[in-house]
């Protein structure tokens, strides 16, 4: 099979390897590749596919990296891959390098391979994909499309994807256009047969049906956010297109159309507004929430920068708002199609002046769904913006997670909103009075009562009755009440999660968001090395007491972050008054999703030093 000397053969492995596809952007490979991953999911095998795509529409290299792990490790593994499916001549040189010794380089051998690309420690397996496609289809567009389906068919033979799983996906996909089913299945079969013809035996990398995916689903974080907003009762979504957040609004619209159209009248019990920019989008969200409708926007870094002034208004005027920031690599335009967790500081301290914002950190699509729904309760309860920090990795890749759940007995927490009867009972309504001592005042919505409850909302200082004043005392009282409210906040926020807890462990790892999978995998590795560690996953800011308690309990504490500046650490240090020297950082910020290998490398110096010493570790991208 290999064009040069014989490399070593990989040990046969089942359900534990990485396949990477090298494609051309815009060539339609996405659906074929996703069919590949989904088939593995349906075989009950844990699988985590990730797109590595360019900020470009057509013609640039794009990759799809699929990790298969019977152990259920869903983080990026990193390092070289066992099988490279090369369908892009442009990136071939780099792709050859990415194969591990003994691994396989599957390519289109319609044209000869450049001899410069030949390594003698890997296997080259060629199939004349172009030739096969061209001799089976005339239309050039169909050729382009079906070439992708064909290589999936070939892989079915080579690594043992159940053909029926693929067929099932085809029929589901084209359920509404059944005439398309047959040609797709034939294309798969064609690939399968041609591979079988060319290669006497399958690869030592094999898939075998498992049962790990019961009660699991496979979906993208952004779609889950959109669905969460539907369940959470959002009626107004105002947004401006920006990668990687666009599919949040699209997801909301898709699900709302499905679930929220009045069957009798055909009217929409929701509104989606494509704004003219992010300033306008957040303005609309604030206007709608001010008027008592649950409303949200989704954006990415540049949008968050533009929304600063409005976020300050909402903080100070105490208007609920939900903002989903699907983080990408910053700063400035950064790398729009790469992931990062680097909008933490600008979100937490959004706006000029003294201001602080609620943050949520989901780690899985399920949490995207749940925390989005929760965000509306939290925003209404606390009368302040809630910023959910997700990221491109979570938002734009399909992830396996537990199936989504909803408790029908749950009801929306609309917070302290007074209706007409409530107002009747009140002598004088004080919009900014701290009646309950929790820092949260009562609010009213326009049109509630003919005589009572109206007030003038503004971003400038006013007294407890919303009467304009420039008195320093009134201003200070208000700012202090906002601090009381801040102290109340954790009560309404999700608690941090300790997944591993052993009093004997002196090392504690703090993480949040999409570092979850890689961190858990690392903890397994550490366990095996005889250096077990505990972990705490933070889900919200401001932090609850649990975070401080966790830090206090461990001699060494490491925070895993996907940014350069250790931004979450800054929040912990500032808000919990923790000595920064107590906290080590593992920082990853090259735009790729973090992997267990990288965390392990990052931990190295920390594992070797005595407790209490500070280390901040960044390392090269792998």
């Amino acid at each position: 099979m290999s064009p040069s000397s014989t490399p070593t053969t990989l040990h046969a492995v089942t359900n534990d390897f990485v396949v990477k596809f090298a494609n051309v952007n815009g060539s339609g490979s996405a659906s074929a590749n996703s069919m590949f991953a989904k088939a593995i999911f349906r075989m009950g095998i844990p699988v985590s596919p990730r797109n590595i795509f360019p900020s470009n529409i057509q013609g640039a290299p794009t990759w799809y990296e699929v990790r298969i792990s019977d152990d259920g490790y869903l983080g990026r593994r990193g390092g070289q891959v066992e099988l490279m499916v090369s369908v892009n001549p442009q990136s071939m040189a780099q792709d050859v390098e990415d194969v591990c010794p003994g691994g396989y380089f599957f390519y289109d051998n319609t044209y000869p391979l450049d001899f410069k690309l030949i390594r003698d420690d890997i296997h080259y397996i060629g199939l004349p994909l172009t030739q096969i496609t061209n001799s089976n289809f005339d239309n050039p567009r169909l050729q382009q499309l079906f070439k992708n389906i064909i290589y999936v068919g070939s892989l079915a033979y080579l690594i043992g994807i159940e053909f029926s799983a693929l067929e099932g996906i085809v029929s589901d996909t084209f359920a509404k256009k059944p005439k398309l089913i047959a040609p797709n299945v034939s294309a798969l079969q064609l690939g399968f047969d041609e591979a079988k013809k060319a290669f006497s035996e399958p690869l030592p990398l094999q898939l075998k049906r498992s049962n790990k995916n019961d009660r699991k689903v496979l979906l993208e974080g952004n779609a889950a956010c959109g669905l969460g907003a539907v369940f959470g009762g959002a009626t107004v979504c105002a947004w401006y297109p920006i990668t990687p957040s666009t599919s949040v609004a699209e997801g909301f619209e898709k699900y709302a159309k499905q679930l929220r159209v009045n069957a009798d009248t055909g009217e929409n019990n929701f509104a989606v507004i494509q704004a003219e920019d992010e300033l306008s989008a957040i303005g609309m969200v604030i206007g709608a929430n001010w008027n008592g409708a649950r409303s949200f926007t989704a954006t990415s870094g540049p949008g968050v920068s533009l929304m600063q002034e409005f976020l300050g208004l909402a903080y100070f005027a105490e208007v609920p708002a939900v903002l989903i920031d699907v983080q990408r690599t910053g700063p400035s335009t950064g790398m729009p199609t790469r992931t990062q967790q680097s909008d933490i500081l600008i979100s937490a301290y959004a706006s000029h002046g003294d201001s602080k914002q609620i943050l949520l950190f989901p780690a899985t699509p399920k949490e995207c769904f749940e925390l989005t729904a929760d965000a509306f309760d939290i925003a209404d309860r606390l009368q302040t913006p809630v910023i959910m920090l997700t990221d491109l990795d979570l938002g734009m890749n399909e992830h396996i997670c537990d199936e989504l759940e909803w408790d029908d007995s749950r009801s929306y927490d609309r917070g302290k909103v007074l209706n007409a009867q409530d107002l009747e009972k009140i002598e004088r309504f004080g919009r900014y009075l701290d009646v309950d001592g929790d820092g949260i005042p009562y609010r009213t919505v326009a049109g509630t009562h003919a005589e009572k409850g109206a007030f003038f909302t503004r971003g400038t200082s006013r007294d407890e009755y919303a009467v304009y004043t420039e008195k320093g005392e009134a201003y200070q009282r208000n700012m202090e009440r906002l601090e009381v409210k801040w102290a109340t906040a954790p009560k309404y926020l999700p608690k941090a999660i300790e997944t591993r807890r052993d009093e004997a462990n002196s090392l504690g790892v703090i993480h949040f968001g999409t570092s979850l999978e890689a961190t858990h995998e690392t903890l397994d590795v550490l366990s095996k090395e005889g250096r077990p560690a505990n972990d705490l996953r933070i889900l919200a800011f401001p932090f609850g007491d649990d975070v401080k308690a966790f830090i206090d309990k461990h001699a060494q504490v490491v925070i895993v972050e996907q940014n350069r500046d250790a931004q979450l650490k800054s929040l912990i240090v500032n808000e919990l008054q923790i000595d920064p020297n107590r906290l080590h950082s593992v920082l990853h910020y090259n735009g790729d999703p973090i992997s267990a290998r990288q965390i392990r490398i990052g931990l190295e110096p920390i594992l070797n030093i005595s407790a209490g010493q500070h280390a901040q570790t960044a390392y090269e991208a792998s």
């Binding site: 369940f231 107004v236 929409n268 920019d277 759940e405 909803w406 007030f455």
Partner: protein, 350 residues
């Protein structure tokens, strides 16, 4: 502070069909300068809403930042108001309006708030044909930050530092016509007779209604040659660079017959030539409106009145296809698809 109170406090003041006197439509005491055009506009709003027999709390008062944007605090105390951020009133109003289509939205903005920092949102709220009345209290300057030229300042006019403004002014009426606004009018703060019915028409219009209202800033237009008696003071003020001397001025009012052109002298000695549209002017033809506006401009006349109206257009609520019931009043039963819906969604995700 002009202890500005409309003079309809008489015990036998007339009542509207709701049985309310104009008193029920009042606001807080104005903190604008005595004689500020914006206060006349507030008075006109109260009269207009009263005359339309709308309960005050069915109104939402929206504004940006500026002297003009403060003014919603000085009318309709029983209505909620939102004094938001500079230049962004349109987006806040859009959100509020989509949330509750049952209220009547009065947006108050300034020329700085609209034509400078707010230009983008102004254009796009027009494009959406949001059902609201949008008032620009246009004084050609930034009142609240002490008199810088705004983008609607006339080319060639002198600002308070005696410098000639070199830039063409932006005509918001022309722009709105261009951008497809479905109700476009212009008026003058001192012309109640024209202004009140225009406002009533605007509030009745189902869609976006702009009234660009010339509203003189008495304070930062006191630089040029005005009446002789002011000279000494002005000299004094200029020489001593007193930054905070604001001579108390009279509101400029006017009362003219339809179809005429009238010269209105402003506090700065400049004047505007206001020209009321004649009775036989047809406001339903956009092309005609644009052409007429061009002609007036060529003659250096400011055309006032209802310049264009498109009575039957889809406003943003129609476009969005939202129900008559306000979105903000939909309850969990309608909003939340619940567990069973989720079960089938889960199925689709395997």
């Amino acid at each position: 502070m002009s202890f500005f109170k409309p003079n309809f406090r008489h015990p036998e003041s007339p009542k509207n069909t709701l049985g309310l006197t104009t008193r029920a439509y009042e606001g807080g005491i104005s903190t604008l300068c005595a004689g500020c055009g914006h206060d006349s506009i507030s008075a006109a709003i109260m009269q207009a809403v009263w005359g339309l027999n709308i309960e005050p709390h069915r109104i939402a008062k929206m504004s940006g930042i500026g002297c003009s944007s403060k003014s919603p605090n000085y009318f309709l105390n029983k209505a909620h108001g939102f004094n938001s951020v500079h230049g962004r009133m349109p987006s806040v109003t859009t959100g509020a309006n989509v949330a509750n289509r049952e209220l009547l939205y009065i947006g108050v903005s300034g020329d700085g708030d609209t034509a400078s920092i707010g230009m983008g949102q102004f254009a796009h709220v027009i494009r959406r044909n949001l059902n609201m009345m949008y008032l620009v209290e246009n004084n050609g300057c930034y009142g609240l930050t002490k008199g810088q030229d705004s983008a609607t300042a006339d080319a060639g006019s002198k600002n308070k530092k005696g410098r000639i403004n070199p830039f063409e002014s932006i005509d918001l009426v022309a722009l709105a016509l261009d951008l497809g606004a479905t109700f476009v009018a212009r008026s003058f703060s001192g012309d109640k007779e024209q202004l009140i019915p225009l406002m009533q028409a605007a509030m009745t219009h189902k869609g976006f209604a702009l009234i660009d209202i010339v509203s003189p800033c008495v304070t930062f237009n006191n630089h040029a040659g005005s009446t002789k008696s002011y000279d000494y003071t002005r000299d004094h003020v200029q020489a001593g660079s007193v930054v905070d001397f604001v001579p108390v001025a009279q509101e400029i009012t006017l009362d003219q017959i339809q179809g005429s052109t009238q010269n209105v002298e402003l506090h700065n000695g400049d004047s505007v030539r206001l020209s009321k549209l004649s009775k036989d002017y047809d406001p339903t033809d956009r092309g005609h409106a644009i052409r007429t506006l061009l002609e007036h401009k060529a003659q250096d006349k400011l055309m006032t009145g209802l310049i264009y109206i498109e009575p039957e257009s889809d406003n943003f609520h129609d476009t969005l296809n939202i129900p008559k019931t306000p979105l903000n009043s939909l309850k969990e039963d309608v909003l939340c698809p619940g567990k069973s819906a989720l079960t089938s969604i889960n199925e689709g995700l395997r």
